[in-house]
Amino acid sequence: MAFRQDRHNMMSRWFFPCLIALTLLPLVPALAQETPETLLIRQALDNDKFGRRRGEVDLALSAFAPKLVVYAGGRSADPRAWQVLHEDLEGFRAAVGQELRGGRYEIERQVPYIHVRGKKAIATTLDSGQVVDRAGGAGRAYRSECLWFFEKVEDKWLVTALAQEIGDELPAPATGAQAGEIAEVLRDEEEGWEQGSAGGLAGLYDEGAAILDAGGLLRPEKWVLLLGAGEEIENWLARRLQRIRYQLDRQLVYTHVSPGGGEALALTRERLNATYESGPASHQLERWVLWTLSRRSGSWKITNAVYGLGLPQ
């Protein structure tokens, strides 16, 4: 009898821990790739998700930086469909507040990709579920793919930019109207390379600017951060221009400036040719580049450059 009692106690003591371990077992490979930084980023993304689910704007926006830019993806990964939707946190807060007052977000969020480099990171999310109208009770299907840009401030990862509603739809042809001041900045950047002026070029980049590599892909699931920590861009420019001469043939394909005039987007197609001081080799490449620009500091500065977008030739 005592033996049976012991066995019962032992089973009840081990049953639940074993059950939990078995439940978590399939998650082990995924968790193995996690780092403290990716866990913190997931936490920031969870705050946004739970805030939307509960209709709490403050919780949803708790991980957003005051200097925020939100782009509308137009259900396309092609930047020619992208526009600047909000150029600061306040505008975004008002929009989110309105959304959450109008509907209840019953959503699930997947985070397929997180890439961290130093104090910068990018992540993609896929939200799915339904939004239930708070007044009428009617539900509509909800699906949204987003690209998030993060920056670590002290110990907290903050969202600095967000491209909402990206997808696979093809954009309408660009109108051809291009913002002259954006074209000028990108022309100055082109000339900076050709003149070998590292200092001049560095001056065109925002203090927190980042350079990314799309690796020939349009969708951002494999984009990687190349440069952006501290004075990395300036040092990189100095290194490259020390012994290499560049020739650039840049065509501005698309620009968009926010209604407030503080943020902008641009897409260029460019041919790059490099020759070297120490020998006869020359290297060429053609690439699409997505640019984001900001006028927060007074003049237009490049905030992000995404090299090698996978758009057709």
Binding site: E232, N235, R239, A274, Y276
Partner: protein
């Protein structure tokens, strides 16, 4: 003391200055690699320049073959530029013999890298010498879809004394692809004493390209003979030992000169090679050592005579004759060699030694008969079970166990 205090910062500054100079020199050579086509004279000169800088350059070179290096401040837009830098750095690391780079090089020999990068890394892994991980990696690449990768991997394995992929070299030399065959010959020319036995074998039986093989063999042979005069005793030793099948009077003379080498191992390896080619000087050297008062020399003599007997059988007659030598050390040593080499024809002569006046000779004869497992010796072995010398009696018991119950 005060002078010393003044000198120390100056020396430290000089040292720091020298460090930065090396770094700058590496940067200069890497810039030249980037600016010139792979294998062009200028590119080769830059690799030579990096090799000349030697081990102080190794840290930077290891960094340049790592993909992580090309992120951040070292980001490079052009894949071809990275290929030139990585290929040159990998080759330089192999030539510098920076063994600590082996794992990094192995990791860049995979299919994610360009052919030039892979070939350079595989070649360099081969140059860095044998280690178990490298052999495993090379064996995988020796089955690659690309025949050139297979060839380079096979040659790298040969340089690690692993002959498991030799068929790749043979296939390249026998096949219709002239370029691949040319690469096989040029790679084999770089195998030093590791590739000499294979080249000799191929020169005898290869179905095609015999002239090219003969030319490669001549080059390697000349290099190995030159190395007999190298400062490094291990290089002299390995070179001497690999020349054991080169029937050439000049080689005999060069090996005979090594019989007076200051290094024991060099002398014995040279003697063993000469003995395997049936040269009296080598055989006499080994038999003289067999009855030397110095036990270390006797141990070496037994070891090398066993090798010679096993590989060529050229000393069997002398060994059996030595069992009747007036010197007990010679009889004892010869018995050991005949036993270790399992020379069955020596069993009768060894049985004759079981009545030797010297106990050490008797027990070595018993050990030899046990190793040979000569059933005809059973009765004589049993007669020694109660030998007055306890060691002899012990080995009689042991030898009977080797013969088995039958």
């Amino acid at each position: 003391m005060r002078k010393m205090l003044r000198v120390i910062p100056a020396v430290a500054l000089l040292w720091l200055g020298a460090c930065s100079t090396t770094e700058q020199q590496v940067d200069e050579q890497i810039a030249t690699l980037a600016a010139n086509p792979i294998d062009s004279p200028a590119w080769q000169t830059a690799v030579d320049g990096l090799v000349a800088l030697g081990r102080p350059a190794a840290r930077q070179l290891v960094a340049h073959i790592d993909p992580e290096f090309y992120k951040g401040e070292n980001y490079c837009e052009f894949r071809e530029e990275i290929e030139k830098k990585r290929t040159g750095s990998a080759l330089a690391l192999g030539r510098i013999q920076h063994k600590a780079a082996s794992a990094t090089l192995q990791a860049r020999a995979g299919a994610a890298f360009t052919r030039a990068e892979r070939l350079a890394c595989i070649w360099s892994v081969g140059e860095l010498g044998a280690d178990a991980a490298a052999i495993d990696v090379l064996k995988v690449h020796a089955r690659d879809a690309d025949p050139l990768i297979r060839l380079y991997s096979a040659v790298a394995l040969i340089k690690m004394t692993d002959t498991s992929a030799v068929a790749q070299v043979e296939a390249a030399l026998a096949g219709p692809d002239e370029e691949l065959a040319g690469k096989a010959l040029s790679q084999m020319e770089g195998t030093n004493y590791f590739g000499l036995p294979l080249l000799m074998e191929l020169s005898r039986r290869a179905p095609a390209r015999r002239e090219g093989i003969a030319a490669a063999l001549d080059k390697v042979k000349a290099q190995v003979v030159r190395q007999l005069e190298a400062d490094d005793p291990s290089l002299r030793m390995s070179s001497a030992r690999t020349l054991n099948k080169v029937g050439d009077p000049k080689v005999y003379q060069a090996l005979e000169r090594l019989l007076a080498d200051p290094s024991n191992l060099v002398r014995f390896n040279a003697a063993a090679s000469l003995a395997e080619m049936d040269q009296a000087a080598g055989i006499e050297f080994l038999f003289a050592a067999l009855q030397h008062q110095d036990p270390i020399l006797r141990v070496n003599a037994v070891k090398f005579l066993t090798e010679v007997q096993r590989s060529s059988g050229s000393v069997q007659g002398q060994l059996i004759a030595a069992l009747s030598d007036s010197q007990a050390l010679a009889r004892s040593g010869a018995a050991q060699v005949l036993g270790l080499a399992r020379v069955r024809d020596a069993s009768q002569a060894l049985i004759g030694l079981l009545g030797d006046a010297d106990a050490e000779v008797r027990w070595n004869a018993l050990i030899a008969l046990g190793c040979i497992r000569a059933p005809e010796a059973r009765a004589q072995i049993e007669s020694r079970l109660h030998d007055e010398d306890q060691t002899v009696a012990y080995y009689a018991q042991w030898a009977l166990q080797q013969l088995g119950q039958g």
